[in-house]
Amino acid sequence: MAKAKRPVLVLAGAEQGDLRALEDYRKVGGYASLEQARTMGPGAALEEIEKASLRGRGGAGFPMGQKASFLPSPEQAHDPIYLVVNADESEPGAFKDREIIDRVPHRLIEGIQISALVIHADRCFVYIRGEYLREYEILMAALAEAEGAGLVSVPIVVHRGAGAYICGEETALLESLEGKRGQPRSKPPYPAHVGLYDSPTLINNVETIATVPKIIEIGGDAYSRIGVKDSTGTRLFSLSGDVVRGGNYELPHGASFRELIEGCGGGVAGGRKLKGIIPGGSSSPVLPADQIDLSMDFDSVQKAGSFLGSASVIVIDERACMVQLALRIGQFYMNESCGKCTPCREGTRWIELILRKIEEGRARVAELDLLSDVCDRVLGKCLCALGDSDAMAVASYVKHFRAEFEAHIEHGCPFGEASSLAGVRSPVDEIYRGRVGQEAAL
């Protein structure tokens, strides 16, 4: 592995330790890109982002430059223009935004200021997930220092969420930021035209925004030559599950799962056999072990029947019962469904119900077809991607590990107590019984 040549952009300078202090960030050239962008002007800066073909790092992979170009110009806009940074990182398997805030908070702030300049924003909001208390404190400290040094010309408000996965969905996030239940809006209109407080709004993920300073520094063309075609640049891959060294690894798009899992992560834990790979958080369909040499870029993973999403790679070894894993994932989506649209609210519940019956050995063979049928009825029929995520993920476990599902129905769990997931429970189990601090929901 050509470790020495690996480009590090988002975490650049933080290899030996975090860059929380402004002074330390300045030493590695921090805030020079902001200066440069101010000299270039908004139009030229946007051009660099467009040339870089920077695709959104939150999961959907939409090009940031294109999204920014949808916003009206200040002359056309009748309302203030807002920049919203999505730091509501809640996808199971994802922990990269947390690391960016923890180690290079000023790079995020610099990226926010450049992006705000590009879209002529009046104000910026960072919506950070409520559980990230420490990261909130780190970001606030960095922000205070940057403000004190006169580096923040467009005001930034850091807003804490309060525990709801769905608020990572961009329109649910806007609703939540407006002081409402975090329930997605119907699209169109898109936030570029009708966003926060019905004003033009650009929403991007933490990693996307934190990449912007480097693009300005090295230029869009140079950036676009890193990675592969249509998946440019580097990515912070969150590696977790049955692997020796989990953690975030910054690699260029196009590196293989093997490079990440074996090269960076030290291979499957305990020298056990690989069973499957979740490429982009629990929402993405599972890939069988033979896909380990697949290139980690948007198009390749999509061609293999899944998606790179937030680049959160979960390693599954041979001890895992796939029915239990599918059930745990199904419970998550059921628990986090906001309840606004019927296919998701009802569908996620049905999916959980059938999976539970299969896992407990109470299901009939026909119910496996019923499960596929329910997934089908959810897919593509919901207001946002949450229902789709559940349906696609669960269907993928049935597709690749059907024999395990059939064995459960006929003889019960073949793994028994030996499964790495044996006895795992979820908040749903508690809610069924009545959970402390919450209203009886079911």
Binding site: S90, E91, P92, G93, A94, F95, D97, R98, R123, G130, E131, Y132, L133, R134, H159, G161, A162, G163, A164, S176, L177, E178, G179, R181, G182, Y197, S238, S240, G241, D242, G246, A269, I278, S312, I314, I316, A320, L325, R328, I329, F332, E336, C338, S420, A422, G423, V424, R425, S426, P427, D429, E430, I431, R433, G434, R435, V436, G437, Q438, E439
Partner: protein, 154 residues
């Protein structure tokens, strides 16, 4: 508590529309009251010009708000995919044994609430346990007695 009202008004000034301050206001009220009591909801509602019912409707949507009493300390054990694969079930069981309660309950003395949690975003190094919103990771079952002892000693 005139003071809480003032603090909420100050929060509201940071936003173009004051209703945006609802989440931080509820958090503040919860810190003051322990959980979101009818009084707490009334206070937030009045400071932000909305109704207690609206505030309750918002609070019930979010996991971090409590509409009923909870323990002095809250232990959240992540049991989502990444942590589940590396033994979260055994960590949760160890807490149950040590505390003498089942997940979703509070100890009889009201000191600790134990819950299983959805992904907390520390997947690379599981099992992740959040105690009073501070993460500990990785937590192994054998670490649990010392953690509980530490909480008991305050």
């Amino acid at each position: 508590m005139a003071e809480l009202r003032t603090e909420i008004r100050e929060l509201a000034d940071r936003y173009p529309e004051r209703k945006s301050a609802l989440l931080p206001a509820l958090r503040l009220a919860q810190e003051r009251y322990g959980h979101l009591t009818p009084d707490a909801l009334r206070e937030v509602a009045s400071a932000l010009g909305t109704t207690p019912a609206y505030c309750r409707g918002i609070a019930s949507f979010y996991d971090m708000f409590h509409l009923a009493p909870v323990g002095e300390h809250i232990i959240d054990v992540c049991t989502n995919a990444s942590c589940a694969l590396v033994g979260a079930a055994q960590v949760l069981e160890a807490f149950e044994r040590e505390l003498g309660i089942t997940a979703g309950e509070t100890t009889p003395d009201g000191s600790v609430t134990l819950r299983s949690a959805e992904c907390l975003g520390g997947c690379g190094c599981g099992t992740v346990v959040s105690i009073d919103e501070r993460y500990r990771q990785p937590v192994k079952p054998e670490d649990v007695p010392a953690i509980v002892e530490e909480l008991r000693r305050g």
